[in-house]
């Protein structure tokens, strides 16, 4: 596959790896956060840690749009799905995520009509095909996904489809990064910046990180060489005492983002005063809701929503994992009480979460495996 396979070359990875090792100051350790769950996934799926200098630790950030949805919010969605005549539509990612009353899959088993879609446009199509039903799209995702939801609402409006609405859970990445940067117990040396969010918002919004907080940030693609190259670039900045926003992913990310996409969002949505993030707590201006003008497409307004808040379980140490204070396996419940089948904390709920990725892909002793797989 073009624009994919070129970035999976093991030979070049070995070369980068050697270069990176050379960039590390002896005796020094480095902690970089990949904000985006997509990167976490890439790192584990390709076994990328085998190429990282020992001195470099990657901290898996909060950028998994599935993981950050608070349980109460999912309970609200299930409540909507259980109303008579409703068809709830959702990306596959969300189906197995447990709320306080189980997951979408559980609700479906209890009888709710919940369907998986690939695109919000598919949800709209279902609405078109089922005029007697009320079709709700469970909208999740960062700025990457919000424009698609917005475009779908605009299309519903243009076509005069009135049995379609959006349960809007879109979140914005900058306030979350800022919340992490402001937390006292955190030590980070740089950021692997989210590639696809940046395709929409561009690179400028990160500049405060480089300027105010003095941390390098490299906007990064999702193939393994993209990530390695990005680590290489951060290490280079650090070696040269720089802190800048760089764009490793220029083939996809224009420096100024996608103005049409930003425009679509702003036509249909506006910032919420605050939104609760699972594992991180309430963050102000960190999420989007439908505007008054599109109230007719706003499931939050159409349906009476209980709005129950479910506290994160006590055993959960996700906050520490998200900030890099603990490694996933250092959490007391990791792998025993907390597994992908029965997640306790947010980092376990989707395969992009730090704990789930480590559990699914990295749950083995690298030392022993080296022995097992050596020819």
């Amino acid at each position: 596959m073009r624009f994919v396979d070129e970035y999976r070359d093991a030979g070049q990875a070995r070369a980068l790896s050697a270069q990176m090792a050379a960039l590390c100051r002896p005796g020094h350790t480095y902690k970089f956060m990949e904000v985006c769950g997509g990167h976490t996934h890439t790192i584990y799926k390709h076994g990328l840690e085998d190429y990282l200098p020992e001195a470099v630790t990657l901290i898996h950030g909060p950028g998994c749009p599935v993981c950050v949805i608070p349980m109460g919010r999912l309970d609200d969605a299930i409540h909507i799905a259980e109303q008579p005549g409703v068809i709830m539509t959702s990306f596959g990612d969300m189906m197995r995520v447990p709320g306080g009353r189980g997951s979408f899959l559980d609700a479906k088993a209890r009888g709710a009509d919940i369907r998986m879609v690939y695109s919000p446009l598919d949800a709209l199509k279902i609405a078109r095909q089922n005029p007697g039903r009320r079709v709700v799209f469970m909208a999740i995702g960062f700025e990457t996904t919000a424009p698609s939801t917005a475009m779908t609402v605009l299309r519903a409006e243009a076509e005069g489809i009135h049995n379609f609405s959006v349960f809007c859970n879109h979140v914005t990445i900058i306030p979350a990064i800022k919340a992490i940067l402001d937390s006292p117990d955190l030590h980070l040396d740089g950021f692997i910046g989210p590639g696809h969010v940046s395709a929409v918002i561009g690179c400028r919004p990160y500049e405060f990180i480089a300027h105010t907080y003095g941390k390098p940030l490299v906007v990064t693609g999702f193939e393994p060489l993209d990530v390695l190259r990005s680590v290489y670039q951060i290490l280079t900045q650090l070696a040269h005492g720089r802190s800048q926003v760089e764009n490793q992913y220029a083939r996809v990310v224009p420096w100024n983002g996608n103005p049409k996409a930003l425009n679509a969002i702003s036509r249909v949505m506006e910032l919420r005063p605050y939104f609760e993030w699972r594992g991180l707590g309430s963050i102000s201006h960190s999420a989007l809701k439908m505007t008054e003008k599109y109230a007719a497409y706003d499931a939050e307004r159409i349906f009476h929503i209980p709005g129950v808040r479910v506290a994160d379980p006590k055993a959960c140490q996700c906050g520490e994992v998200l900030k890099g204070v603990l490694k996933p396996w250092e959490c007391k419940v990791f792998g025993t009480a907390c597994t992908p089948e029965t997640p306790i904390g947010t980092c376990m709920v989707s395969s992009e979460g730090a704990c789930a990725a480590y559990y699914n892909f990295g749950r083995f002793s690298r030392q022993r495996v080296k022995e097992a797989t050596s020819p």
């Binding site: 093991a10 790896s17 090792a21 596959g92 197995r96 690939y118 490694k327 989707s350 495996v369």
Partner: protein, 379 residues
């Protein structure tokens, strides 16, 4: 270049390991945690849910838990216990499967040949020659009889191709909305006349892991044929009877063949996990060696799905003794259903019960059982 990377921090381990000494290994704290987790995983299966969900039918962890905690618990007996493709007793192999595919007709096949081939294959995986099939139908009222004729015609053709007869059957009709057109359950009896004793437990470190052809064709064909994803591709199901292929393999390798499994629900990854668990070996795969058609890979990338978990209906995994690997590949490749057979990995000894993948990128990761169906990872 002056700094050769340290063995700890680069993928050069593949080379340097050659030069390494013995297997001395001091467990770290992480190792201890991992050990605790493995113990927890090997413990008695327990169901936490109250209701059946689709995950219980997907072939992964939830299915295994259900089978062990409910079915095995209730029915336990020595023939059932191995939970293999079929039961083996008195020179006979016995198997059954229900088929609930949607749509009923898809590129490359339909529920009819699936129901025959699937059961023929389970017998073949036991090392048996398929003899007799039974077929039981659950029909939804409203099913066009023309569809039923099409289905029975392809069952007849598939049975003919596999050299078996459908010797008895049953038909039930349920109300509209209580089925999905047509469900078929076949059971099969085969003769254990090939002199092979196959079992997942017999797999030994060093054994070669072979797959008989490109993986995931069936599952992806079905996913596309449902039309919900609006994806188009020239893809057809791989549904085929494998008894002849296994016959050739067994003739060529005799008891060098340890174990055969058709990689249906849950795909190759699930089958390999079952083998690793039963044999307490570590199966190590080479991602570069796993045959996947470009369209299957394209659809998988688009949907965020791993082809290792996508179902096949005419592919099998064969584990053979190291010295028979070449003979096995030759035998498979000489058969039309095995032309693209490939050696995709080896059994190792540590960590026991795990499947590891050496990625195309040179890294290593686990290939675990999924909880349920591979869900698209889109956003």
């Amino acid at each position: 270049m002056t700094t050769e990377p340290s063995e700890e921090t680069t993928a050069a381990w593949a080379e340097t390991a050659v030069r390494e000494a013995g297997h001395l290994h001091r467990p770290t704290r992480e190792d201890q945690v991992l050990e605790r987790i493995e113990r927890a995983r090997r413990g008695k299966a327990r169901i936490r849910e109250e209701l059946i969900t689709l995950a219980h039918g997907a072939g992964g962890k939830a299915t295994h838990t259900l089978i062990e905690a409910v079915f095995l618990e209730a029915f336990r007996n020595p023939l059932l216990e191995p939970l293999a493709d079929g039961a083996v007793t008195d020179g006979l192999a016995i198997t059954t499967d229900s088929y609930v595919v949607k749509p009923l007709f898809f590129p490359g096949g339909d529920i009819g040949d699936l129901a025959v081939n699937g059961t023929v294959n389970d017998l073949a995986m036991c090392g048996a020659t398929p003899r007799h099939l039974t077929a039981s139908f659950i029909l939804e009222e409203g099913l066009p009889i023309a569809d039923l004729r099409r289905i029975t015609a392809s069952m007849a053709a598939a049975a003919h191709a596999a050299g078996v007869h459908i010797v008895t059957g049953d038909t039930k009709v349920v109300e509209n909305g209580k089925a999905d057109g047509c469900y078929i359950t076949t059971a099969g009896i085969g003769a254990l006349d090939r002199g092979a004793t196959l079992s997942a437990a017999s797999v030994t470190p060093g054994d070669a892991v072979i797959v008989s052809g490109p993986i995931g064709d069936h599952g992806m064909t079905i996913m596309l044929a449902r039309g919900e994803l609006d994806l188009e591709a020239h893809l057809t199901s791989d549904t085929a009877p494998l008894h002849d292929l296994t016959g050739r393999l067994l003739a060529a390798c005799g008891d060098g063949v340890r174990c055969l499994r058709d990689a249906t629900r849950g795909g190759v990854a699930t089958v390999l996990n079952e083998i690793a668990a039963a044999s307490r070996t570590c199966v190590v795969l080479d991602e570069n060696a796993v045959p996947v058609r470009p369209q299957v890979r394209g659809a998988c990338e688009l949907l965020g799905i791993d082809p290792l978990y996508v179902a096949c209906e005419g592919r099998m995994v064969a584990v053979v003794a190291p010295h028979r690997a070449d003979a096995a590949l030759d035998a498979l490749r000489s058969h039309p259903l095995g032309t693209d057979a490939a050696l995709i990995g080896r059994a190792g000894d540590d960590p026991p019960g795990l499947v590891l993948l050496k990625t195309c990128f040179g890294g290593t990761r686990i290939v675990d059982l999924l909880v349920g169906d591979p869900l698209p990872r889109i956003c």
